[in-house]
Symmetry: C3
Subunit: 159 residues, 3 copies
Amino acid sequence: MEDRKKTTIVLFSGDYDKAMAAYIIANGAAAYDHEVTIFHTFWGLNALRKDEPIQAKKNFMERMFGTMMPRGADKMGLSKMHFAGFGPKMIKDIIKKHNAVPLPDLIDMAQEMDIKLVACTMTMDLLGLQKEELLDGVEYAGVAAYLADAQDGNVNLFI
Amino acid sequence: MEDRKKTTIVLFSGDYDKAMAAYIIANGAAAYDHEVTIFHTFWGLNALRKDEPIQAKKNFMERMFGTMMPRGADKMGLSKMHFAGFGPKMIKDIIKKHNAVPLPDLIDMAQEMDIKLVACTMTMDLLGLQKEELLDGVEYAGVAAYLADAQDGNVNLFI
Amino acid sequence: MEDRKKTTIVLFSGDYDKAMAAYIIANGAAAYDHEVTIFHTFWGLNALRKDEPIQAKKNFMERMFGTMMPRGADKMGLSKMHFAGFGPKMIKDIIKKHNAVPLPDLIDMAQEMDIKLVACTMTMDLLGLQKEELLDGVEYAGVAAYLADAQDGNVNLFI
């Protein structure tokens, strides 16, 4: 473990394109034999949501958040919505046409390569997200666990 | 000093939620006994503004900037304004309800934990911000000082 | 080479102000004798576009992208467009008035200081950008080359 390089990414953003960049770097690093962690916080948690509606006990505000936030990677928007009207659909068409890998598949690949996908428990609580709404195999932790990984990291990014 | 880990964050963003993430990581790192610096540049400087209007000699453009930019952490907006109409007020209500710490208190905590809060002098000049408008205890420096901290850093983030 | 410090920046953003911050840090690090790489991916590629229209064989979608994305650093927009109506022009006026260095000149300086400017070939392909459209002296590589630089880096940033 000592000699493996480490890549630790905070995924804060809920944008499809930024999450793609995060997962492309993460998967590349895993292929390079790095020990890789993606710590999903704030809007980045949406990448980990299951795409079907999940029954969970929620108060009014949490239900509202749950309904309005994108349910899973495939439904996330672009960082440049105003960018001449390119919608996520157009980007996804282009990805398909170029045989590039769409975000949900990048996440599957990450899990297959044993990348540690962590959901920030503090922001889950704030946004009213519950464990049964997130993908299986996700770990749950707070900022202390992130720092424990990052402080020995070789590549640390905030995306 | 030699053996303490170092966390150095560039806070470029003027978004309430991104600044929260920056300060949560910074405070966590300080609790972990890291030596922590937050270098505030561009819109991130707004987090350091005092919330009352300050008399300062300014030209027309600087007065305009001064009036239009948020005066202090509590007045900053969200990175996802268009996100289904969630306003900063709603987020702040949720933070209060969950006993999470709002941004101005996170900044107070950072100062109590001796986190070095630096204001980028180059962008202060560009935006016409003056020292008397910023919180007491803030340090003033440029990119060279940032790099001197960051090059020995363990966790370097741009937020 | 062994003892030189290394700064490696991923420039993902297509915003004028974020690209300015990236190049100011990069140029500062080069002045500090760091070995510096800026890896331009997604919208960050626009900073490397030549400002004149280039004839290149493109399909319909690529032509659309090519027309709608800003042609070169000088035409990029701000991260805070909605920010009280500040347009890039206003910022550029302020930069000029304060004798600060505008983005295209920061890029020239970077090239003169032998900063390695890399264009991400995967996103070039996605967005339909071709080598003849980008500045002379740019290198072309993928995520593996980025990681090879970043894993020994002292300052790694994602902007």
